[in-house]
Symmetry: C2
């Protein structure tokens, strides 16, 4: 391989020496972290006792990352850039720890790891060491918004950070392994959503080091002409730096970056792409051991993790390690006190221009709260419970319209969704903003504009990745998604929750806005689609995760949805999942009642209960809009048919309140739980999702044995709304039968009622197969009032 020739040398001899010194220093520090404890500057010959007992970490990608970091530093100084660094191959933690330590941002974050030999010793010891720091680019690393442990999301995160940050350059190293993932493959097209005037720039640096863990990578092996064609086809203008000879590579990379800076200035001026990017082709494990035990290592998959593995046991390996480390000439790079020398730091920027200190990467420091309108101003007027109906998400759309309007000047709020904003009935927001669209458009396109603040792309991965990047760089957002397809980002939300969990424990990381999901077009209303669109399990997935980060809400109507949404938009450092329907739903609570109910998170609906003056004979509990409607319909039947029965209706908005207080910050004490659900009466719980989640949350409660849960049990198809309830045995008639079955003493007295309920179910089945719609008395049912 040879480097792409630069027509005129981009770097003077002095600059070249300086950038090379910086690179060598970072490489030394990266290798040191993997291997050494004690004598970090190798003042004495290397001894087995200095070698860590467990050799962990990823060397292979590290020299390439260090190379990019050093060159970006040079470009920041040369061109006065405001730049962030997103590390796709985030498992190359040693590189980012090394580079931030060199620039001093690391010691500012973690003063005990000072920029001297004592701090260097700590830097080495702590890496991948119990009680130390993880091996990846975690929240612990200053300047990072991306872990890169699970590959595929770097470029989406970079775009998220660049939106609404004109002047910011988000450099993003994309590994050629990561480039094989689906989310990364579609992220290239995100160039179509970046506005040259309103947004910052994303600079992808596709790092072709040729190998993954054990195999060559696809993009490094396809013909270079095809690679070029692929990238140009996604709207990029690639520049190449390819080779393994450091001097030529330094010149090529510096020339590439200078060219990029010039291109970006032109794009900002003219408003048109293509956007520049860099393809860096360099050996995996570059500058590390060329061969080990006769096998090639540098430039191969064998360099992926630890290139020399038997250093403690094998004196030859030990010598080879020592030779390797000394090949960087540490004595030139660090002074007697272990501080980087002037040559190393000459091309490192200072203050917040250091990528480890860029405030956008610790978004909480830049975060400005959203200006939120009072919920009451947008609430639906409610004369009496259940008298009127609303489409809850449509009401929310009107509220969000006002959020957009109030915060337009701050440009810090966006709505994300996979082509579903209008389908999810949030389209009132289009009165004040459009959908982001940078490609050509015209009639019959609807509400597209380059400066739109609604991000619509048919990729849940991009929506999620963009939003994560947007939040972690200090802004606000909401992701509205079909409930079933939130599972597409299960793994991404895992990583974001893990990130937040660690982030919250790091003193210098400031709180960021929560990641808010609105899951709608939910399991009970997928009339146009069917079984494939019916899956309420995202809540179960999230409920497994760190309780300090996770919240789940089931607002039963429009006003409670507004309350919950406003609460979520005010919250910090959380993942909020809100499940709400888009179809006409009775308005149960007025604004004031909704505020109180949501503040409590759950409560008795006395107006729907009977004989509130005594202990109930049965508790009908509900969470979710469809279950709430069914429970009220069942309660209405019971008050007519069994007027002496004391029925208590409990509605749950905040699902985590069901957990014990020791398990979740929102958990109820046992006393509070028993006061609502009784210690011993039958509780019939109609739940939106898989019924066993309620058992999992409540199994420690005194009355768990009395708890009977109805929910979705995977009986789905394309059918009517009420038929979905009947198929899953959560319809009003079934709930009445359940009450008859469970309240002691009712059984013998209620044969006729039970028969009527069974007959109603049969009538339903007959009706829908004949007429294709639900029974008129079900469709037109209204809460009868008290």
């Amino acid at each position: 391989m040879t480097a792409t020739e630069a027509p005129v040398a981009a770097l003077s001899a002095e600059e070249l020496a300086q950038v090379d010194a910086q690179w060598r220093a970072a490489n030394y520090l990266a290798a040191g972290q993997i291997y050494l404890m004690g004598d970090p500057l190798l003042r004495e010959p290397l001894e087995p006792a200095q070698i860590k007992p467990r050799l962990l970490g990823h060397w292979g990608t590290s020299p390439g990352l260090n190379f990019v970091y050093a060159h970006l530093n040079r470009a920041i100084l040369a061109h006065g850039l405001d730049a962030m660094f997103v590390t796709g191959p985030g498992h190359g933690g040693p590189a980012l720890l090394a580079s931030t330590w060199l620039e001093g941002s690391y010691a500012e974050a973690w003063p005990e790891v000072s920029r001297d030999s004592e701090g260097m010793d700590r830097l080495f010891r702590q890496f991948s060491f119990p009680g130390g720091v993880p091996s990846h680019v975690s929240p612990h690393v200053p300047g990072s918004i991306h872990e890169g442990g699970e590959l595929g999301y770097s470029l989406a995160h970079a775009f998220g950070a660049a939106f609404d940050n004109p002047g910011l350059l988000v450099a993003c190293v994309v590994g050629d392994g990561e480039a094989e993932t689906g989310p990364l493959a579609t992220s290239w097209q995100a160039s179509r959503f970046l506005d040259p005037r309103r947004d910052g720039a994303v600079l992808p640096i596709l790092h072709l080091n040729g190998y993954k863990i054990a195999n060559p990578t696809v993009l490094s092996r396809i013909p270079p002409s095809e690679l070029d064609s692929l990238l140009r086809g996604a709207g990029w203008a690639p520049v190449y730096a390819e080779g393994d000879e450091p001097v030529a590579m330094h010149q090529a990379m510096a020339a590439a970056l200078d060219g990029v800076v010039a291109d970006l200035a032109r794009i900002r001026r003219d408003g048109t792409g293509p956007w520049p990017m860099i393809v860096l082709r360099s050996p995996k494990g570059w500058t590390g051991p060329a061969t080990v035990d006769g096998q090639q290592v540098e430039g191969t998959w064998r360099a992926h993790q630890v290139p020399l593995t038997r250093v403690r046991e094998d004196p030859a390996h030990l010598r080879q390690l020592e030779d390797w480390l000394r090949s960087y000439r540490p004595e030139e790079l660090f002074d007697a006190a272990g501080r980087p020398t002037a040559a190393v730091t000459a091309l490192i920027p200072s203050g917040s221009r250091r990528m480890g200190a860029n405030p956008h990467a610790n978004g909480g420091v830049l975060l400005r709260p959203l200006s939120l309108p009072p919920v009451a101003d947008h609430a639906t007027g409610v004369q009496a419970a259940g008298e009127s109906t609303s489409e809850p998400t449509r009401v929310l759309g009107q509220y969000l319209r006002e959020v957009f309007r109030r915060n337009a000047g701050r440009a810090n709020f966006r709505l994300f969704g996979p082509d579903e904003t209008a389908s999810n009935r949030l389209d009132a927001v289009y009165d004040v903003t459009a959908k982001t669209w940078e490609l050509p458009s015209g009639p019959p396109d609807d509400r597209l504009a380059p400066d739109g603040r609604v991000m619509e792309v048919l990729s849940e991965h991009l929506c999620q990745g963009w939003l994560e990047g947007y939040l972690l760089s200090g802004r606000h957002g909401l992701f509205s998604c079909y409930e079933a397809f939130a599972h597409i980002v299960d793994s991404m939300v895992n990583q974001h929750i893990k990130w937040l969990r660690v982030h919250r424990e790091i003193p210098w990381r400031r709180p960021v806005a929560s990641l808010n999901y609105l899951l709608t077009s939910h399991v009970w209303r997928q009339d146009h689609n069917g079984f494939s669109h019916q899956d309420p399990g995202f809540v179960d997935h999230v409920a497994n995760k760190a309780p300090e980060v996770v919240r789940v809400y089931f607002p039963p109507d429009a006003n409670t949805l507004l309350e919950v949404a406003a609460h979520c938009l005010r919250s910090r450092d959380l993942v909020n999942v809100v499940v709400a329907g888009k179809n006409e739903t009775p308005d149960w609570l007025d604004a004031e009642e909704a505020a109180l109910h949501c503040a409590r998170g759950l409560g008795i609906w006395e107006w729907a209960s009977t004989h509130a003056d005594r202990e109930p004979d049965v508790v009908l509990a509900c969470a979710g809009d469809a279950p709430t409607l069914e429970v009220l319909a069942a309660a209405a039947i019971l008050r007519t048919e069994l007027p002496s029965l004391a029925v208590r209706v409990v509605n749950v908005v905040d699902l985590m309140r069901l957990q014990p207080e020791a398990e979740h910050p929102h958990g109820l004490s046992d006393r509070e739980f028993d006061a609502l659900f009784t210690p011993d009466r039958p509780v019939l719980f109609a739940y939106h999702g898989y019924p066993w989640l309620i058992h999992r949350l409540a199994y420690r409660r005194a009355n768990h044995a009395g708890l009977h849960v109805r929910g979705y049990t995977e009986h789905g198809t394309t059918t009517t709304p009420f038929d979905m309830l009947v198929r899953n045995r959560m319809d009003r008639f079934q709930l009445v039968i359940d009450v008859l079955d469970r309240v002691p003493g009712l059984l013998s007295a209620t044969g006729p009622l039970r028969q009527r309920m069974t007959r109603a179910q049969e009538r339903h089945r007959h009706w829908i197969t004949r007429y294709g719609e639900d029974l008129p008395e079900v469709r037109e049912w209204r809460w009868p009032g008290r």
Copy 2:
């Protein structure tokens, strides 16, 4: 738009009329399904009473699908092709129902929907109607292996079906909405893994109809030169058919297909690409209403679902619908009895050449069982429980090597994994097969070959999609994956489980091989990585799904892993999740014991228990390799320290046995459960994953109140294996403390033992932070024997 000009007309006038008649007939039938009940041939003027009460379904994509189907039929006849049809926009169910009904395969599958007017009436009524058929291309549709409800997986499924099927052409319509998803975006690169000689061909037909639900699509709006560049960059040679004028479009599409057939013949002969593909650019809702209420519909997003919505209420809409339906001239397309006329059927193939009757799309009919070696031949020799150790997945790799060897001639087994086969220590398979690789290779590449049977690509989506396609077309496979990253395919496995659930109920669908996961590099052993790689929740995700389809296994050692794996490879129509470690693990059971234990699914390990002659004082239960080791270590401490305590050790391999028998086919009766776990003694359960899953499975058991579960509670980082257990409070010392806390009467007598356990935990913490590895007595611990 104008059609790409064909130099010589591909179709004669007669052929053109025939293919057009077929297309018009299919379009008529598609629209009829959305709207009509009664008088399907429109013999009388259309009346409101004939209109379905709920108008559901997706018209927009349907005419394009019908167009492709008709042209493929023509090409099948002209060139003698053996072709399958994969419908990316599977929500266009009406199209596939129409086309399979026309060709007669539908009536063979569902005789009551006969190819006459009576059957046509049924075809129309049943669509999206309660008790009828779903609106998508579900398992119900003959010829389908792909629902297309959740977009993104069509092309991966097509490749899966093409592997090892030389001579088969898998045509795959890719919607331009779907093309925005990550999984689809990376699927283009699957061309790099298709072998021209060994495999069939995949023919992507990228259908640019311009719009999604509400927005234009990216690929339809980028400059055509960029689209061309993008596709060529992924290894394809696109041919274009673009326009809206039917005659020109018929000629263009026929010419494109004839060209494709010639190209494929050349590729099969020469063994080199690029592979041909077709870009079809046609209006959304083509041939439907051009405008409705003054707004453009055809060619816009407004055509996505139901173009005319107020047909029952609005006489103008009703007339417009009638005009639209009659515009296809049904009287020319169907005879008096409602049978398609000769013009319509002239270019439709017969027998198994009809795409709805291709046996590859009902893979069970082609399925040949794997020849499996006896487990005992590959079992690890075990002298006494816990005396020796093995790496379980390495032992499994040796077994799989033999599976590959025995079935080489059948070419019906592949192993899939995201670059982790060697990391997961299954690399013995490379003795007999290689990794599939069609790009250039050479040293230092390891075991790559065009005819390799191990599929390695860094995309869990591709692995999953390929395997699903491979299984549904009648072959066998195993997906080995890092446990945490199985979540990447959560949504895909949902869809596959839903597919299997429906498939099992369809009489003409034959059983297919199960989808087998080996989840390894699991939560307890992610030494090189850390928190981002620690997530055992995939099991929870799967456990929510249809119990008749789902199985979960936790083999505790090498021989049980072999037993479980062989069982899974023999099973049909299931999703099997096997969780097993790759690190050195004690061999607990010899081959015979393992067979017995796995057949039971769980059982008492008497050799590890004490005082087996009486009811236990405490039950120590375990599921998973790491928990099993800790439980045995705790049992060893207890037998020494509290020799009079009766400790029963129960190991669970088959997790679903914990459920009640009414809930899961593998569920234990209460009597059996009580016999193992006792009705009332404390049960301490050490579980591999999130502890509440055990509660969710066992909450109905008599002894649920006595059940205390330890598991992973999201306390992770880069640390030692034993430290992971300590952080999550599942280490042996904690388990002993738990016993002391829970067995009545033990508390006062055991202060010193408790103190020693607490001190051991402290010693551990001190040791790891000092030495970076686990206590020697933990690392070197061995089961003491009886």
